[in-house]
Each structure stands twice: as structure tokens, then as C-alpha cells.
Amino acid sequence: MSKFNKNKKKKDGPGITTASLPDIVFMLLFFFMVTTKTRTNDLSISISLPSATETGILDDKTPTAYVNIGVPVKALQDLYGDNPRIQLNDAILDASDVVGFIENKRASIEKSFEMAQPGVGKAKASKMIVCLKVDQNAQLGTLDEVREELKTAKALKINYVVNKAN
């Protein structure tokens, strides 16, 4: 036993302290928590996006609003039917609700930017891009209604979200 102890003493250099490891990992953790956002909206409609080659990437500083169009999921078809519907935030709504939705979104964007830096809220809100996530099998009629409503709401910058194809 004493021999064993002696051996150990000889080898023991200044060990690397792992006490700071948790700190490093926590830092990484916070970095991820801050830079990413979890998808909070559950889709009650199913959307399979079309793909395209000539696409651009939205930079993440641009404020966005999402409008989803697709057929309600199986469980909700009794309630909403099996025609393409519009989902705004969590609720399945009609095209006529789009204007209100856009105005609310603008107000909330303005408020959140105003808190960070007074005076920039309005400008940021006017830069808002409406991202349209539309099922590739949905007919254009619904999309057209939405676009008309967006024109009424003066939200003219839109972005059709697609998958990147090569």
C-alpha cells in the first residue's frame, strides 16, 4: 500500500483543474440561448414547401411576420375542413384577419425596438418583411387573397419561404 502511495506522489504534477469547465460550457449554453430562437408556434396546418434555386437569405436582423397557408392537419380537419387555410400565430383565421395581424405585429416590433433604442422603432417596423409559408399543393386563390390584404395593410415586402434546391 505504501509503495502504491509513493508511486502516485511521484507522478502527481499540477493537475489540470476542471472546475472552470462548467463555466465554459455555460457560456456556450448562454450563447446558444441568446442567438437562436425556438419555434414557438405550433402549426395546425401541414406545409410542404416548394423548392427553388434562385433564392436569397433573409438577414436575421430584419423583423419578420409569418403567414402560413396550408391544409389543416388530420386531427383538425373536422373543425376546419380540408381546404387550405391561413394560420397567423397560433390560430387558423381568415384572409380578412390579416390586416389586423400585420398591424399588431408592427406595433409589437415598434415597441420592442423602441425599448432598446428610442427613436428607431418606427423605421424598424416599416422594414418588416412578411414571410409567406405556403404549401406547394395549395391553390393560388388563397395566396392571392392574402396578398390583396397585405397591400391594404401596406405590408409590401414579402418573402416566399422555399427550400433551396441545387
Binding site: T18, V25, P50, A52, V161
Partner: protein, 228 residues
């Protein structure tokens, strides 16, 4: 054994716990980057007042019905993939076909006039407008630079691509059509880049890309356009 020291808490497993959390967040979170096709909608027309009519030869009309049949000008039974070739022909109109969109050479003089106008405006402008006018000035100067590089390839084309899909067209086909149109422009631009700059689109600088976008300016209309 005198006084007993309080047992130290082993912090080694703290790292494991943090790692677990970290992995959880990496898996559930998604970077908010999204690929998409950008479009600026036209403003809502309130009083159906007179709009500027488009000459018949300048309008490139593409119709599409719910069976994905395409009518390109007068041609029917086309495949989607045939569109870029036809569009490129129409936009360039190298032969000067009177049925195809008209174009003319851009002159140094007219670009200089715009630059001078912007400069004059910048001098008179108040602080709130300086930024936007400077932007316009830079744009007009870039246009002049583009003329120097691309010379006689820099033409002002009056074409308007008008797409009219039926209400029953599937969204997937509609996006495909938009993509095909975007592809035509991209091909025009990269062909010119290869010819004049000897580089592919990927290797161009941002400025060069913007200049090429000026040379072949995208002009797509989705509302039915007036003809005379």
C-alpha cells in the same frame, strides 16, 4: 481526527449537466435564417386612373392554367424548363426583331445628367434626406461604371414580363415559374460576366454583381398590364 471538514461538492459532474443542456438547446433551436424569394408588392390602386400603357411588343406575356399548361406569347405546349431560353432571346433581342421588346444603347451623357442632378439635390437636401440621396447618387455613379465595363452590352430594355397564373394554379408550379424567370436573368448576367470579366457568378464581387443587375434589370409584373 480533529475537526471534520465539510465534504466538498464534486463539481466535475456540473460540466456534464451543462453539456446536456447545451445539446438540448442546439437540437431544439434553429438559426433564424430562411431561404426565400423576395418580392415587393405593388401599391394598392385606389382610383383606377390611367396607368401608363405598355407597348404590345414590350410585353412578354406568360399565362398558366391549373393543368400547368403554359402559354408563352403565342407558343403553347411548352415545358417549364424551356422558359429561360425563350426569355433570354426576348430580352436580348439581338436581331432587332420588331415583334420583340425594344432596347437601345445607354449613353454616357444621360447617365452623367442623372449624376449631376443627384449631386445638385444632395447640396440642397436637408439632413433627413441626405442618406437616401447619397444612396441614389452612388447608384447612378455605379451605373456609369457599369457602362465603362460592359460597354455596348449595357442596353436599356423596355421589356415587361407579365405573368398571369390562374387562381387554380398550384403554389408549387407558381414558384417554379418565378424561379425560371429568375434563372433567366441569372443566366444572362453570368454569361456576360464570363464574357467580359472572365469569371463565374460565384467569384464576382458584390459591386460587380450589382452592376450586372443594372445591366439586366429585372422587370416582372404580376398584375395584368394594359396594352395598346
Amino acid at each position: 481526527m480533529g475537526r471534520r471538514l465539510a465534504p466538498e461538492i464534486n463539481a466535475g459532474s456540473m460540466a456534464d449537466i451543462a453539456f446536456l443542456l447545451l445539446v438540448f438547446f442546439i437540437v431544439t433551436a434553429e438559426m433564424s435564417k430562411e431561404e426565400g424569394i423576395l418580392q415587393i408588392l405593388p401599391e394598392k390602386v385606389i382610383d383606377n386612373g390611367p396607368t401608363e400603357p405598355v407597348k404590345e411588343r414590350n410585353a412578354i406575356r406568360i399565362f398558366m392554367n391549373e393543368n400547368n399548361d403554359i402559354l408563352f406569347e403565342d407558343q403553347v405546349g411548352l415545358k417549364m424548363s424551356a422558359i429561360p431560353k425563350l426569355l433570354k432571346e426576348q430580352i436580348l433581342n439581338r436581331s432587332g426583331n420588331p415583334e420583340m421588346p425594344e432596347n437601345r444603347l445607354v449613353t454616357r451623357g444621360e447617365l452623367q445628367v442623372i449624376i449631376d442632378k443627384n449631386k445638385a439635390r444632395l447640396e440642397k437636401a436637408d439632413e433627413t434626406k441626405v442618406k437616401s440621396i447619397t444612396k441614389q447618387l452612388k447608384k447612378s455613379q455605379l451605373r456609369l461604371k457599369a457602362l465603362e465595363i460592359f460597354g455596348s452590352d449595357f442596353k436599356k430594355s423596355n421589356h415587361v414580363i407579365s405573368i398571369t397564373p390562374d387562381k387554380g394554379v398550384k403554389y408549387g408550379s407558381y414558384i417554379k415559374l418565378k424561379d425560371m424567370i429568375a434563372q433567366s436573368y441569372r443566366e444572362l448576367r453570368s454569361e456576360l460576366a464570363k464574357e467580359k470579366l472572365g469569371r463565374t457568378w460565384k467569384d464576382l464581387t458584390l459591386e460587380e454583381k450589382r452592376m450586372l443587375e443594372m445591366v439586366y434589370k429585372k422587370n416582372v409584373s404580376e398584375s395584368p398590364i394594359e396594352k395598346n
